[in-house]
């Protein structure tokens, strides 16, 4: 018992020292990020979307399902809401504002699952290597050959569309990439000095994985998570556009899917929800690129 106690203190010291040295590059990266104009633009864009979807509803209380005016009212015409009305006379401003909630919630939930599961599998495969790596990588490869959207469609269609099935389907078909990336990071880091040091003072495997290697893999994983969120938003939109979504919760993709039949007379019903998706994903891509440059200043512009 006494022995265990001392090793834990040792590992804590190692981890603490590590965090201290890691703090300086973090601050450096933040400074570089804020100096990058396109990254800041992306951040502003994304924050604007977040405010629109999560704050604006308090000031613009509408039910996006209500029929409030004549159908096909163009934006700017008399009696029309800001973004016009759709083919049934629903307020498109409300559809875009409230639709974002569904899209972002589903995408964020899926992204958390993707990163969580992907990092777990990748970390185990990279850290242990050998047989464990073989088995886990074969498993990962299997999920990589299944065509993503098609497999997700099959899953959602077989188990009926709901917020949860859509989230799980997106995560099921998307985690493999994150797992491979995490594995590569672990392979790169696991033989470095500080990991050997932690091992020498007797830190447990779990501790080395979570407290020693993982913090050092963070920059790569943060960049990747930003892109994963953008990917999940596009994916959710695609599924919803095809009608594979909970019809009681309007989302951006669903709105475009509903409006597509009348696109010749009503361009705004497909244009505005699409612009919202585009702006969100563009914001996230710019943030991801900015973070990438900030963490690896040598690779700027690549």
């Amino acid at each position: 018992m006494a022995e265990l106690f001392t090793t834990d203190v040792g590992a804590d010291l190692a981890a603490a020292a590590d965090e201290e040295t890691a703090a300086a590059p973090q601050r450096q990266a933040l400074k570089l990020f804020l100096r990058n104009r396109s990254a800041v633009f992306g951040l502003i864009l994304f924050l604007a979307i977040l405010i629109m979807t999560f704050v604006l509803p308090f000031f613009y209380e509408r039910d996006p399902g209500d029929l409030i005016a004549r159908p096909h009212l163009a934006p700017g015409s008399e009696g029309a809401p800001l973004l016009g009305t759709d083919q049934l006379g629903r307020d498109l401003t409300a559809v875009v504002v409230y639709g974002g909630r569904t899209t972002l919630r589903v995408a964020a939930g899926a992204a958390v699952m993707i990163v969580g599961f992907g990092v777990m599998i990748g970390a185990l495969a990279g850290f242990y290597g050998g047989k464990v790596d073989d088995v886990l990588m074969r498993f990962t490869e299997f999920f990589q050959v299944l065509p993503g959207l098609l497999f997700a469609i099959v899953l959602v269609a077989l188990f009926n569309p709901s917020v949860w099935t859509v989230m799980i389907a997106i995560a099921t078909v998307s985690w493999a990439q994150t797992a491979r990336l995490t594995r590569a990071e672990f392979l790169r880091l696991k033989n470095l000095e500080f990991v050997k040091a932690a091992r020498a003072i007797g830190a447990s495997d779990f501790r080395i994985i979570t407290r020693v290697i993982l913090p050092n893999a963070m920059p790569t994983l943060i960049v990747s998570s930003t892109l994963v969120l953008g990917w999940a938003i596009l994916f959710e939109a695609g599924l919803a556009f095809l009608g594979l979504a909970d019809v009681n919760n309007v989302s951006w993709g669903l709105a475009i899917g509903r409006g597509r039949a009348a696109f010749t007379v009503n361009w705004w019903a497909v244009t505005f929800p699409g612009l919202a998706i585009f702006a969100t994903v563009l914001g996230l891509s710019l943030i991801g690129d900015g973070l990438q440059d900030a963490y690896n200043p040598k690779l700027r512009g690549r």
């Binding site: 299997f142 050959v145 993503g148 469609i153 953008g230 095809l242 597509r260 998706i277 585009f278 563009l282």
Partner: protein, 327 residues
């Protein structure tokens, strides 16, 4: 190299088998039983009929027996019948495969050629406006949902210019010889091909730019320049041949993604391909067709990955000689 290739082929077969097992499991895990689904499609609720169907389709056999029967049937090319059409799934897919192949190859060829050209030009002058434009375009192209790009093209171009048909692969009232029929299909191909191509163009131009930037700074390119070779020879012979390797890898690995994109684009343009077939199968609750397309798509991804691996060895002499890949 032969040995590693044999291992690679064995692995591909293992994956195909795994996909078949997955397909079978999906049929079984899904709520509702196949017999009642078939009966339901024929709007019958007679319990005797359902019992008969259970027997015909072997639904009362033990799980492993059913699995074994399923695998042998699939390997013989029998994927069952469509609930909606009543025809064999395989025949339905064979009808739809060519439109999808045509659409996908058009999009990929367009993206590959233009992407590599644009990326290479951008890499030669990394700080020029042109180079920044490529970066911006690639970000924009990546961030636009494919189906939305398609609809915007339809709104902007399809509605205003009659030359571009808005849906299908042939005009409804089409009447002409084979040559005219081909031209008609090509005219229908432009908008969906462009829509699907833009996504990949965004990726390839960015990738080509990054890859060529790295290659053009390398020692062998400097040596080639020092030898006094022409700029053309340096960029194309020494640069491009090395710079294109990552792009070929991505191209092969992306085969599955092309399928996913095709589903959305075919659905927007009513293009009569596999994606449209799969989408219709969802709305018609036609599970055998849906799973058939999933199987076919997965197998083509596996084969495409295998071919990429072989091609990779052929283009890259370092791998050809040592027989090893780094990834």
């Amino acid at each position: 190299m032969l040995k590693s290739l044999a291992a690679r082929i064995g692995q591909a077969f293992g994956l195909i088998l795994a996909v078949i097992v997955l397909n079978f499991s999906l049929i079984h895990i899904a709520p509702g039983d196949a017999a009642s689904a078939i009966a339901g499609a024929q709007s019958a609720s007679d319990p005797d009929l359902i019992e008969e169907l259970r027997e015909t389709y072997g639904l009362d056999d033990p799980f492993l027996v059913q699995l074994w029967n399923y695998i042998t049937r699939v390997l013989q090319g029998d994927l069952g019948n469509s609930i909606w059409f009543g025809e064999p799934v395989v025949d339905l897919m064979l009808e739809r495969i060519w439109p999808t192949v045509l659409l996908a190859t058009t999009a990929l060829a367009f993206a590959l050629i233009l992407g590599v050209a644009v990326g290479t030009l951008a890499a030669r002058r990394p700080d020029s406006i042109w180079s920044h434009a490529v970066t911006i375009f690639s970000l924009v192209g990546f961030s636009m949902p494919a189906f939305w790009t398609g609809l915007l093209l339809l709104i902007l171009v399809g509605v205003n210019f009659e030359f571009f048909p808005v849906s299908g692969m042939h005009a409804v009232d089409f009447d002409g010889n084979r040559w005219e029929s081909m031209l008609d299909a090509l005219r229908h191909l432009i908008l969906p091909g462009l829509t699907l191509g833009i996504i990949y163009l965004a990726q390839y131009s960015r990738l080509a730019r990054a890859s060529m930037l790295e290659v053009l700074e390398s020692d062998y390119v400097r040596t080639a320049r020092a030898k006094g070779l022409s700029e053309r020879s340096v960029v194309f012979k020494h640069g491009l041949r090395n710079g294109i390797i990552p792009i070929v890898t991505v191209l092969g690995l992306q085969f599955g993604a092309v399928f996913s994109g095709a589903i959305l684009v075919e659905s927007v343009f009513s293009w009569p391909g596999l994606g449209r077939l799969a989408f219709d199968a969802v709305t018609r609750r036609d599970t055998p067709v849906l799973l058939g397309v999933l199987l076919l798509a997965s197998v083509s991804v596996i084969v495409a990955n295998l071919l990429t691996d072989v091609l990779y060895r052929v283009i890259d002499p370092r791998i050809r000689i040592s027989g090893k890949t780094n990834g």
